[in-house]
Structure formats: structure tokens, C-alpha cells
């Protein structure tokens, strides 16, 4: 029901429905804030349950799992990016830390983020470990990383 309404409202969204597993909408990267704001205000998606990244080799997918508590409905959005996406921390407060995590582990920069720093790893860590081409350094501050 809501799914069809979303499709009608946002004609530029590309719907992907695989045979198995969850489906999602692909959002053009310049439209993500607009789409999120409208989904929150007009469709009741008041909760950003999860925001994460997937390394696809030549690009990184940022995946948004939205949930509407009143209607108990969920929707998945995806943005493909080389390295920069606009922040949605202005839409949901929870995005702040989740975007920091994606920045830390995937190196995606979130434009307009109020406090984009590493969150899990130390400030002086080299590289972004969840990228597929990540090579672990042999040591960190004189300590070996292997045994």
C-alpha cells in the first residue's frame, strides 16, 4: 500500500524487487535528503533503524532501513556513491553516529555532517577496514597486528 504510494510520489526512484530477500529503492544521490524528509513527514517513517554501507568494488552502496512505528511498515533505500553523500542527520538524529561509523569503516564522506570523525577506530588509524581492498598494516604504533 505505502509502497505503491511511494512509487507514485517519487517517480525518479528505481524499484528493485529480487525473487528472494528484501527489495529496495535506488535513490539518486542528490535526492536523498529530499526523499528522506518527505518519507518522514508525509509517510510517517519516523525511525531510521539502520544506516550502513556495502562495498561493491567500483562504488559504495549506502543502505538506509526506515521504519514507521505507527503503521509498522519498513522501507529500504539505497544510494550508490563513489565517496560523498549528503548527510541525513538533519532528518533523524540517529543518523549522526551511524554515518560516522560508515565514514570510519568505509571512508564515505557525508556532506554537511556536524561532527564527522572516526568512531570505532583511533584517529590515527590508516585505511577503512570494511572496504574489500583494505590491507591491514603490519603494525599499529609499534604493536604487531598479527600473531
Amino acid at each position: 500500500m505505502t509502497y505503491n504510494m511511494i512509487k507514485e510520489k517519487f517517480t525518479y526512484l528505481e524499484e528493485v524487487r529480487p525473487e528472494k530477500g528484501d527489495g529496495w529503492f535506488v535513490v539518486p544521490s542528490d535526492k536523498i535528503v529530499e526523499v528522506c524528509k518527505k518519507l518522514r513527514d508525509e509517510f510517517g517513517f519516523d525511525c531510521l533503524s539502520s544506516l550502513t554501507g556495502v562495498d561493491r568494488g567500483d562504488h559504495i552502496e549506502v543502505v538506509y532501513h526506515l521504519h514507521a512505528y505507527q503503521k509498522n511498515e519498513s522501507v529500504v533505500l539505497k544510494v550508490s556513491t563513489a565517496s560523498v553523500v549528503t548527510t541525513v542527520s538533519t532528518v533523524w538524529a540517529s543518523a549522526n553516529w551511524m554515518e560516522r561509523e560508515v565514514f570510519d569503516l568505509f571512508g564515505v564522506k557525508f556532506e554537511g555532517h556536524p561532527d564527522l570523525r572516526r568512531i570505532m577506530l583511533p584517529e590515527d588509524w590508516v585505511g577503512h577496514p570494511l572496504k574489500k581492498d583494505y590491507k591491514e598494516e603490519a603494525e599499529y604504533q609499534g604493536m604487531t597486528t598479527t600473531r
Binding site: 529480487p18 525473487e19 528472494k20 530477500g21 528484501d22 519516523d46 525511525c47 531510521l48 533503524s49 539502520s50 550502513t52 556495502v54 562495498d55 543502505v63 532501513h65 512505528y69 509498522n72 519498513s74 529500504v76 533523524w92 538524529a93 540517529s94 549522526n96 553516529w97 569503516l105 572516526r118 568512531i119 570505532m120 577506530l121 583511533p122 577496514p129 570494511l130
Partner: protein, 372 residues
């Protein structure tokens, strides 16, 4: 007296601080007892579990799920197995589902006992902690009967559970429930309705409904703020639809809805609901297999799922992307403690240091779940 000069000082709470429940650090700026700012610094327990999963494969990752939240490992086991089963289309035998529910709910009781005990200790009452741990010992004994372990169970496996319950488990379990339900009453008389306890909890750290949803609080923390949402009811999985239980929602029992007391009270109520669930599950559990026929190497078809299961710290989400191989292409663990941590920065300004300790404890944060 009017011209005493005060100065803002920066303090570091943690990484080893009795009130941080693990290795976490809060950098607080205070003027006397009043906080201006509290920033969290974490990652001390970051083990890179999501990266590990890409190396060890689906079956190999199962024991790691114990270490996400070691206080309530059963629910993490169950949540992970449920996610992989959904992705791979594995039917789990009903007996196994019941065993999982029994184990998870027993673990929920012991987890909430820890929360209640530790909360009291943070506030300055040591005795309730011992009371909580005493009861938890019996739960650990029961879980040990099921799987041989007392903390990191690795009980729920993809396709079922590791072992069936021993013949005397049912009686022992009912014996514990009969003993435990009146204990909750005792706990209430000892701490819940103690005047000092109420003074320290009621009307402290009031999280509004809007903030709770926007900051993505989950589980008891979310329900304390008045949102009636429980993954067991609203996103049904396992055999929960066949079981009758209530979902407690915060109504401002001793003060304002969404205050520390409500968050605490949710745990007390949920323990009793869990007892109810275990009793029903023990009655309904059918005979049969405890493990589905799954191959040694699990290769889910290419695709992705996001599942949310109710842990004692709120719903724990597993987002798994499969490329058809025996290792996850990407696995993301979304935990309740992570989002609960993030609300501290918003709530802290204006609070007293002692209230911050109370507020922090009421969120029931477990450090390894924040860092993963």
C-alpha cells in the same frame, strides 16, 4: 557570596569507571556538579566482528554472536540464526524454536536481573546486586543444563539448536519460576518502592517520545517513552505469535513517562512476562527434531535481508548481504546499546553528574554491543 568565581573543568569518566559498565569513556565538561557537555569516546572493544564474518563464513560466525552482547547471548544467537535462516530459506523444526524461546526468555530474565542489580549499585545500594546475581546463578544453571555453558552459549545454531533439553530440565525450570516470581515482589519491596530509589530515578533523564524515536532507541528504552513496539509482537518471528504475553509501556509510574524510573520499571515488568512465556512454552513444546537438515557449508542464494529480533537491550538487527557463496558478502549488526549511547550527548547538558550516572545505567548499555 555573590562573586565566587566558578570555572568549567573537563573530566574523563572512564575508560575504567565503575559506572560505565565496561570499557567506555565519557568526556564531561562540568561546572561544579552541573554538566555542560558529555561526549562519548568508544571503540575500546571494537573487534571488527563485521569484517571477521566475511572471513569465517556463516557457520563459523555463530560463536562470535555470543560476544556481541555477553549479558544476553541467547537472543543474539537466535537473532543471527533467524537472519541466516530467512536468507537461506531454512525451515526450523518447531521443537527447536520452542527451545530457543525458552532459552532466550530465561536469558532475558538474567540480563534484566543484572541491569537491576548494577543500577542499584551505581546509585549506591550494594545489596540488591547480590540478590540479582543470586537468582541469575539459577538461570545460569538452567542454561548450563541446555548447552553446557554459562555465559557464551552458542546454543541456537543455523537450522535449530545444539542439543535437546535433558529430561529433568522441565521440572527444574518450573521450580525456578515458582521460586522466582515471588522474588520479583521482594525486589520491589527492597528497591523499586524505596523512597531513596524513587528520588534518584523518577523525573530524571526524561526522554520524550520524539527523541526516543529519532535517536532510534529500541526495546525497553523505547517502550518506556511510550512507544508500544516489541519485535516479538510487531515483527513476529519464531513461535512468539503462539504465546500470550503483554508488552509493558511506560506511563510515568513514579513521575514522567520516559524517565529513569520507567526504564527501570519496564525491566521489572518484562521479567514477569518472560516467566509467563517460559511457562507456556514448556507446556506447548512438541516432540520432534531439534535440527533441520542443513549442509555443512551454508550457501544462501544471492540477496539480502534485514531482520530485527527482540533482545533484552531492544531489537537487534542483522543485515546480511549474500553473493551466493558460503561467506557473507556483508554483515551488519545493529544494536540497541549503540543508539542508546548516542542520546547521552543530547540529554547530558544541565544534568547533575550523579544524575548522569543514573541516566546512563537506566539505558542498560553493554560496551561490547556498542563497539562490536
Amino acid at each position: 557570596m555573590g562573586n565566587i568565581r566558578t570555572e568549567e573543568i573537563t573530566l574523563s569518566m572512564g575508560p575504567q569507571h565503575p559506572a560505565t559498565h565496561g570499557v567506555l569513556r565519557l568526556i564531561v565538561k562540568t561546572d561544579g556538579e552541573v554538566l555542560h557537555e558529555a561526549k562519548s569516546d568508544m571503540g575500546y572493544l571494537h573487534r571488527g566482528m563485521e569484517k571477521v564474518s566475511e572471513k569465517v563464513g556463516y557457520t563459523g560466525f555463530q560463536p562470535y554472536t555470543d560476544r556481541i552482547d555477553y549479558v544476553c547471548a541467547m537472543t543474539c544467537n537466535q537473532a543471527y540464526s533467524t537472519a541466516v535462516e530467512k536468507l537461506a530459506g531454512i525451515e526450523v523444526p518447531e521443537r527447536a524454536e520452542y527451545l530457543r524461546v525458552i532459552a532466550s526468555e530465561l536469558n532475558r530474565i538474567s540480563s534484566h536481573l543484572i541491569m537491576i542489580g548494577v543500577y542499584s549499585m551505581d546509585i549506591g545500594a550494594f545489596t540488591p546486586f547480590i540478590h540479582g546475581l543470586r537468582e541469575r546463578e539459577t538461570v545460569n544453571d538452567l542454561l548450563e543444563m541446555l548447552c553446557g555453558a554459562r555465559l557464551t552459549y552458542n546454543y541456537a545454531r543455523i537450522g535449530g539448536v545444539s542439543s535437546d533439553m535433558p529430561p529433568n530440565f522441565k521440572d527444574k525450570c518450573i521450580e525456578f519460576l515458582d521460586h522466582f516470581e515471588p522474588i520479583v515482589d521482594e525486589l520491589n519491596r527492597l528497591i523499586s518502592f524505596n523512597k531513596i530509589y524513587i528520588e534518584r530515578l523518577a523525573n530524571i533523564g526524561v526522554v520524550s517520545r520524539e527523541d526516543a524515536v529519532s535517536y532510534n532507541l529500541v526495546g525497553p528504552n523505547l517502550r518506556a517513552s511510550g512507544v508500544n513496539f516489541d519485535a516479538r509482537k510487531n515483527l513476529p518471528y519464531s513461535v512468539y505469535p503462539k504465546l500470550d504475553f503483554n508488552v509493558p509501556v511506560g506511563k510515568g509510574k513514579m513521575g514522567t513517562p520516559g524517565d529513569c524510573f520507567d526504564r527501570y520499571w519496564m525491566r521489572i515488568c518484562e521479567m514477569l512476562e518472560s516467566c509467563k512465556i517460559v511457562r507456556q512454552a514448556l507446556k506447548q513444546i512438541p516432540d520432534g527434531e531439534i535440527m533441520a537438515k542443513v549442509s555443512r557449508k551454508i550457501r544462501p542464494p544471492a540477496g539480502e535481508v534485514y531482520t530485527r529480533c527482540e533482545s533484552s537491550r531492544g531489537d537487534i538487527g542483522f543485515y546480511i548481504v549474500s553473493d551466493g557463496s558460503d561467506k557473507p558478502y556483508r554483515l551488519k549488526i545493529r544494536t540497541g546499546s549503540f543508539s542508546a549511547m548516542s542520546i547521552i550527548e543530547k540529554m547530558a547538558p544541565g544534568m547533575m553528574i550523579a544524575d548522569l550516572v543514573s541516566f546512563f545505567s537506566s539505558l542498560d548499555i553493554v560496551a561490547p554491543e556498542v563497539d562490536r
